[in-house]
């Protein structure tokens, strides 16, 4: 019994949930309007795009990789989809197919570079991010697209739940299923936990790499589409800088930059926590310039926590067998 309790206490998700509840209580008392239905709905909807991208990044991180390029992929595929099919006569199925397909393509390019050249994923994806963004700004001169068709910008909601939230929900559920219940997902955990072991066990490493980066790209494409739907316009540089917000949420949710760890539920809580923090600060009248500081601190703290845990483990490892 005591054992089970300590295991529960050690669960990262549970701790996050407790903190999230404390936050919610704090802000609902101090920030007027925080607890209003309208605010919560806004909050949820504004995080949907981030959550979709987070699903992609989570899978990459668990596999022991990292992807910085997804906002750029989202921006580019968003723009391409908007200029290609977002005209009267298009439809949602085609839009999803094209956005996801373009994202997938860009993701596979990342995988090709990372797997083929054995290049460090941070560098590769920073480079592709810079390249895609720059090419987008260069060719569009930063001009936004406003005249999106009505079928695309019309607000859809099921039982008052906005469309992007539904899409994010489906994607997160599918990601959780993939990671926990499919052989592919378990191999992704294995790859992140010990790449050498995964290789020796006969896992198809190339396939896993192409899958995770392709998945991240696809999610980015869909996230870009949802973003355009939500704000009813396509602004080329709207997503610049979002990569660190997503990274902060995912690592806060327990994903390790060293690979092998992370969960969808943790990621959700990470997103919720950061969103509440930002929203609460806004309602309290704190300048939005402070959000970057929050993001930076969260990443630093999460990384330090992981490093400290590893050091403890090493120290424990020095006396292995003591139990």
């Amino acid at each position: 019994m005591r054992n089970r309790l300590t295991a529960l206490g050690r669960s990262h998700e549970l701790r996050l949930a407790v903190i999230a509840i404390l936050f919610a209580v704090f802000f609902s008392f101090t920030a007027p309007g925080f607890c209003s239905l309208g605010n919560l709905k806004d909050l949820l909807e504004s995080q949907a795009v981030l959550a979709i991208m987070a699903a992609g990044l989570l899978v990459v991180l668990i596999a022991g990789g990292i992807d910085i390029s997804f906002p750029a992929i989202a921006a580019v595929s968003q723009y391409l989809v908007a200029s290609l099919i977002l005209r009267p006569g298009g439809n949602w199925a085609l839009a999803f197919l094209l956005a996801g397909g373009l994202g997938l393509l860009f993701g596979l390019v990342n995988a090709l570079l990372i797997h083929g050249l054995k290049a460090p994923p941070v560098i590769v994806t920073i480079a592709t991010m810079t390249f895609y963004f720059s090419m987008l700004m260069f060719s569009t001169k930063g001009a936004p697209l406003y005249d999106l068709p009505d079928w695309f910008t019309a607000k859809i909601a099921v039982l008052t739940v906005p469309f992007p939230v539904i899409v994010a929900g489906v994607i997160l559920a599918a990601t959780a299923f993939l990671l926990r219940r499919l052989s592919l997902g378990r191999q992704i955990y294995g790859l992140g936990g010990n790449p050498e072991a995964a290789k020796r066990m006969g896992c198809n490493i190339a396939r896993l790499q192409f899958f995770v980066y392709g998945f991240s790209g696809t999610m980015a494409g869909i996230a870009g589409l949802m973003q355009a739907h939500r704000v009813e316009e396509v602004v080329p540089n709207a997503l610049i800088g979002r990569e660190l917000d997503v990274l902060a949420a995912v690592v806060l949710g327990g994903a390790s930059l060293a690979g092998g760890a992370g969960s969808v539920s943790g990621t959700l809580l990470g997103i919720a926590l950061l969103a509440m923090l930002r929203n609460g600060l806004t309602l309290l009248g704190v300048s939005s310039y402070s959000f970057g500081a929050v993001t930076g601190l969260v990443i630093l703290l999460s990384v330090s926590a992981t490093a400290l845990a590893q050091r403890r483990l090493r120290r424990k490892g020095g006396s292995h067998g003591s139990a």
Partner: protein, 514 residues
């Protein structure tokens, strides 16, 4: 899609009919790496269900042979017969589907997955969109454990297991596929005697299921205890294959090194009268060790033994400033010192050669030279803080000669050296700091018999130069042979103090494992 042998049912032992009729036969295997002939015309046959030891010094070709058996390397010439069909080379796929499983020294487990999932991980491989067969995974793990008469916590993450249990997980995983030959590379190197005995019992149980084991080891005792036959390699060639019951320990040692071994001499009581250079009073570190008193004089070799986890490594780290104690005193020359970090310890003249030389002792990709002087760079600096290359060269040449590191040039990366030579470079690195106390933590783990003798000689010479030496080891034989005095640690306390002349190896083992 499915590229591996089907895992037929959770626990079926290797098809017994095949195991009885066919073994694995390697004949005339040669393999060259650049200018080095790693193997020349080696024969190696494993009969079904036998325990076949593979012995030889580091660099004799054992690991090359194993890699050829596992299909990772192709031989230049020779023939491999599996189930009556001859192959010029194997691939990992062929090797595994013939029931050959290799457990490498690093175990290759997934620390972030549970014991059950690690054991049954094969069932994921080659599948993509299929559902995880959670129940089947668990049943497989349970069945393998039951077969070996082991119990492991199935839902615990492997990273939370002690090292000995991890070893068992690796063995279980090898058996979760229809293995009929399990190759274990140095499985006992990091295990205590009790854990080793448990592992040997597991090997016996494999044998009773008709599964053959190839045991690669440096520990003669283990091989003598468990082996049916032993193949000895030296310099890439067969010395021969012998029945173990016709073999004795000394002869085996001689076959491995190719040298006559002189009987080990036991040291007499230490007679030096100089005051202790290092002393410890009531040293305590919560949760690790408590109330430790010890003293070591110049020229004395103090043996410190105990099981892994007895607190000996933690104590050593405290003496080296890397694990600050909670209470008690450390005295250098009778003067109380604080050692908040290892730089303070180095300043006080304490050197520490870690247990895990590969992880902690050496910067593997850097040259022997760089590794030797890394601890003393500040002393080699000229007035402007630039490194004095003449002095650097002298220091390196001095210690390479003193310790007889076998290499053409000190500019070779350390990772290319054999284990024994690496151990010498670590020693050189610390001796360059001109220490007065040298702490050696399990210096001969993974070092072969010949290199061991060389290291022992070096340790004796260092003591004769007036160094105080603390030798940590879990091999009773080693501390008895090397130390003037032996302290035994159990559960963080010193529970015994022995003069080597007054105690037998068995009595000391008894005290360690009490």
């Amino acid at each position: 899609m499915d590229e591996r042998a089907p895992c037929s049912g959770p626990s079926r032992p290797a098809t017994p009919s095949a195991a009885v009729t066919a073994g694995v036969e390697l004949t005339g295997i040669s393999r060259r790496f650049g200018g080095v002939q790693a193997l020349s015309g080696v024969d190696f046959t494993v009969r079904p269900g036998e325990v076949h030891c593979l012995a030889g010094e580091n660099g004799c070709g054992k690991s090359t042979l194993i890699k050829i058996l596992s299909g990772v390397l192709a031989p230049d010439s020779g023939q491999i017969v599996l189930d009556g069909s001859a192959h010029a080379r194997l691939s990992p796929k062929i090797s595994q589907s013939a029931g050959i499983q290799v457990i490498y020294q690093d175990l290759a487990l997934f620390p972030n997955l549970t014991v059950a999932e690690n054991i049954a991980f094969h069932q994921h491989v080659g599948r993509v969109w299929q559902l995880v067969p959670a129940r089947a995974l668990r049943r497989t793990a349970e069945a393998v454990l039951a077969r070996l008469g082991l119990s492991l916590p199935l839902d615990t993450l492997v990273q939370d297991l002690p090292i000995a249990s991890r070893q068992l997980v690796a063995i279980c995983r090898a058996l979760a596929v229809a293995a009929r030959l399990v190759v274990m590379d140095e499985p006992t190197a990091s295990l205590t005697h009790q854990e080793t005995d448990a592992l040997l019992a597991t090997i016996r149980s494999l044998k009773s299921h008709g599964i053959a084991t190839v045991l690669v080891s440096h520990r003669l005792d283990d091989m003598m205890k468990i082996g049916d036959r032993v193949t000895v390699l030296r310099d890439g060639a067969n010395v021969g294959t012998f029945a173990m019951n016709e073999m004795d320990r000394h002869r085996l040692g001689e076959l491995i090194t190719g040298q006559k071994r002189t009987a080990a001499t036991i040291k007499t009581r230490f007679t030096g009268t100089a005051p202790p250079v290092l002393a410890v009073r009531g040293l305590t570190c919560d949760g690790q060790y408590a109330n430790i008193d010890l003293a070591v004089r110049p020229g004395e070799i103090l043996g410190l033994t105990g099981r892994l986890g007895s607190g000996r490594t933690e104590l050593a780290l405290s003496l080296f400033g890397m694990n600050p104690p909670d209470a008690g005193e450390i005295l250098i020359d009778g003067r109380i010192v604080r050692l908040p970090d290892n730089r303070a310890a180095i300043r006080e003249g304490i050197g520490y050669v870690s247990e895990d030389r590969l992880a902690l002792g050496l910067i593997m990709p850097q040259s022997i030279a760089e590794n030797t002087v890394v601890t003393v760079l500040d002393r080699l600096c000229g007035p402007l803080g630039l490194i004095d290359h003449r002095q650097r060269g002298q220091t390196i040449a001095h210690w390479m000669g003193e310790l007889q590191v076998k290499t053409a040039t000190a500019e070779r990366p350390v990772r290319e050296l054999s284990g024994g030579n690496q151990q010498r470079v670590v020693l050189a690195k610390w001796l360059a700091t001109k220490p007065r106390v040298l702490i050696l933590d399990s210096p001969t783990v993974g070092v072969d018999v010949g290199a061991k003798a060389g290291l022992y000689r070096t340790i004796d010479e260092l003591a004769a130069l007036g160094l105080a030496i603390i030798l940590i080891s879990d091999e009773a034989e080693e501390v008895l042979q090397m130390a003037h005095r032996v302290l035994v640690m159990t559960n963080g306390r010193i529970t015994g103090s022995f003069q080597p002349a007054d105690v037998t190896e068995d009595q000391l083992r008894e005290a360690i494992n009490a």
